[in-house]
């Protein structure tokens, strides 16, 4: 009997250990991306109510079952983290609902049946039809809010003390995706440029997306590209990173699995390297035949002092970044994006690429960090200009 109990705890511990390691950002983000791809590829299958319901059930069991673990329960019951649990379930539910309605509509279209939203002429009076719906929503929402307020007290920590810096210091949860990006980017990108581009990109979206189909009804098939990009941005780059930032980042912004104790003394390892280090040092020392320059970062200005030393040093990074931002779009416009380019025209395409390239620079850099400890493509520290 006792033996069995011991065996059981060890299996459970082993399971927890596996989950802990799978939650390391490199696996967690990659896994959610795979899930995301599968979900969109097979959106018609898994959104069937029976399958989706099973998924919800299993996920809920795993999620709330995990609350038996003292470390996990400590994270999710922190009052200001409760909304994140709500976010996870609500975003999941409504993503399902929208894809489900899209799947139904797409099937109807294929069979030549009318859409769910068809019947544009059947007008109803606002009083009573709409006003009552609104009233019911309002009452339900009030009830939920009041119950929530009774059950959960608003947090109040000790009085503000400018000399006692908490570790970790975290921004409000809805900004934690951006704070998580600080691991990979300097503040001017994570905290200023990317938020600015998100706002600008959202506003520009209706003017860039020239696809006239899918206006006013749920669908996936009629606008797969734009939906994939948007959902990737919202679900992975925003919501998943919020979960990573709140649930999985502990003292010193170190990673901790959901069932791990937040140990403030865990050492931070990792020496990250720049593209310039790779080009000027690693390559010539490893492959002296192929790269016949002497290992070492250039410190001399070139061309009689016109080109400062840091530009020479960062030339490989400048070339890479330049190719990504300037050459790649031209190449794509001639190949994969040919139709898109024809639809958009030059001006729209330029804005489109500005937004898309920055959006995908984020996962690209994450992957490179995980694989090669890449710190910066371009590191002009002299100007705080690091990408």
């Amino acid at each position: 009997m006792l033996l069995l109990a011991v065996r059981e705890t060890t299996t459970l511990d082993r399971l927890k250990h596996v989950v802990n390691s799978l939650c390391a950002p490199e696996y967690f983000v990659s896994l959610t991306v795979v899930l995301f791809a599968v979900a969109l590829l097979w959106y018609r299958r898994w959104t069937k109510p029976a399958i989706a319901g099973t998924i919800l059930l299993l996920f809920s069991i795993a999620y709330f079952g995990s609350a038996a673990d003292p470390n996990f329960v400590k994270i999710i019951t922190k009052p200001d983290n409760v909304p994140i649990t709500m976010m996870i379930f609500l975003v999941g539910f409504f993503t399902w609902l929208a894809l489900r309605l899209g799947a139904v509509n797409d099937e109807r279209r294929e069979k030549g049946e009318p859409l769910l939203e068809a019947g544009s002429d059947d007008k109803v009076l606002v009083w009573p039809d709409l006003v009552y719906t609104e009233l019911i929503c309002l009452v339900l929402c009030t009830v939920v809010l009041v119950v929530w307020a009774i059950v959960l007290k608003a947090p109040l920590e000790p009085r503000a003390n400018p000399s006692a810096i908490p570790n970790p210091s975290k921004a409000p949860w809805y900004f934690l995706g951006l704070q998580e990006l600080l691991v990979y980017f300097d503040p001017w990108i994570a905290g200023v440029l990317l938020p600015g581009l998100i706002i600008f990109g959202l506003m520009a979206l209706p003017y860039i997306d020239k696809n006239p189909r899918g206006n006013g009804y749920y669908t996936f098939k009629e606008r797969p590209f734009v939906i994939t990009v948007y959902l990737f941005g919202f679900l992975i780059m925003w919501c998943v990173l919020i979960v990573v930032g709140t649930f999985l980042r502990g003292p010193n912004w170190n990673f901790f699995g959901p069932f791990e104790y937040w140990d403030p003394h865990r050492p931070v390892a990792l020496l990250n390297i720049n593209v310039s280090d790779v080009f000027w040092i690693t390559l010539p020392s490893r492959y002296p035949k192929l790269c016949p320059w002497s290992p070492g970062l250039p410190t001399q200005a070139a061309l009689g002092g016109i080109v400062p030393a840091y530009i020479v040093r960062e030339a490989p990074g400048i070339a890479l970044i330049g190719a990504y931002f300037l050459a790649l779009p031209v190449l794509l416009a001639k190949t994969a994006f040919q139709k898109l380019y024809a639809q958009m025209g030059l001006a729209r395409y330029v804005v489109f690429w500005l937004l898309l390239s920055w959006m995908f620079l984020v996962p690209i850099k994450m992957v490179l960090r995980w694989l090669f400890n890449l710190k910066y493509f371009l590191a002009i520290t002299e100007w705080f200009f690091n990408i």
Partner: protein, 261 residues
């Protein structure tokens, strides 16, 4: 005729009633239309709408919920202002007092959870607008108004986060506002700021950069508290109210809630 309905008739035929409601009980088409048309609040709606447009499975009532949460925040926020003084001396004590002494002390809870809920509901509203393609012509501009509302909603939440003046508050705001230090050209640690000099004098330094503008100081202190208070209680809510009015107006002018053509 029962007594109740006689009393009811008496009131409904009185001059007072007639001066408030210009129409009879909304029982038929005409009076129902009048009910919406003659009420300034209901008049945000058109008189008749497309049936599929208002189906719960289509809009999820998310825009409506966001609006409702905004109203709930306004009401509880005004009540909270009775108990709260935005100074370093009093802010924290006032919140403690609010917890300990105020009868039915749910105000702060409703206000805080409502704010979190509004952040989530506005994201979901956007998700539904996006996935129904409702940002496409002729609704591009209203989507743009929406994006500004989104930013302002997040800023409302962010500025409010500081007001309890506890450890959670100042450090979250410190982390958040530290970003402004790195604004290109405008933050003293941002790329390009070093270029903005006159002779040897730097124009952008810790005492003049974007972060200083946000916090009215170089750290999250009394000035920041006052500034966030005014932004949170007056400036942003007023702008949001105006933009919500524009948003609703444009929904009607753009042909009502979207639907297949």
């Amino acid at each position: 005729m029962s007594v109740i309905s006689r009393v009811g008739d008496y009131f409904r035929n009185s001059q007072v009633w007639g001066s408030i409601f210009r129409h009879g009980i909304p029982r038929d088409r005409r009076t129902r239309a009048m009910a919406v048309l003659s009420n300034v609040f209901l008049h945000l709606h058109p008189v008749a709408v497309r049936k599929s447009g208002i189906r719960l499975s289509f809009t999820w009532c998310m825009g409506g919920l966001t609006f409702f949460l905004f109203l709930a925040e306004t009401v509880t926020g005004v009540l909270l202002m009775f108990y709260y003084r935005p100074t370093v001396e009093y802010a924290y004590v006032d919140i403690q007092g609010l917890r300990a002494h105020v009868t039915l002390g749910l105000l702060r809870e409703i206000h805080r959870w409502g704010a979190h809920a509004m952040v989530i509901s506005i994201w979901l509203h956007m998700l539904r607008v996006f996935l129904t393609g409702s940002y496409k012509p002729p609704r591009e501009f209203n989507w743009g108004i929406g994006v500004i509302l989104l930013v302002l909603t997040l800023l409302l939440s962010f500025t409010g986060y500081l007001l309890p003046w506890d450890q959670l508050a100042i450090w979250a705001i410190t982390v958040g506002s530290n970003m402004a230090r790195a604004t290109p050209f405008l933050g003293h640690e941002g790329p390009g700021a070093a270029l903005l000099t006159i002779g040897d004098v730097a124009l952008v330094h810790a005492g003049s950069d974007a972060r200083f503008g946000l916090l009215a100081g170089t750290y999250v202190g009394p000035n920041a508290l006052l500034r966030f208070y005014v932004l949170h209680c007056v400036f942003i809510p007023v702008v949001v109210s105006v933009l919500i009015a524009v948003h609703f107006w444009r929904i009607r002018k753009d042909g009502g809630i979207s639907g297949p053509l």
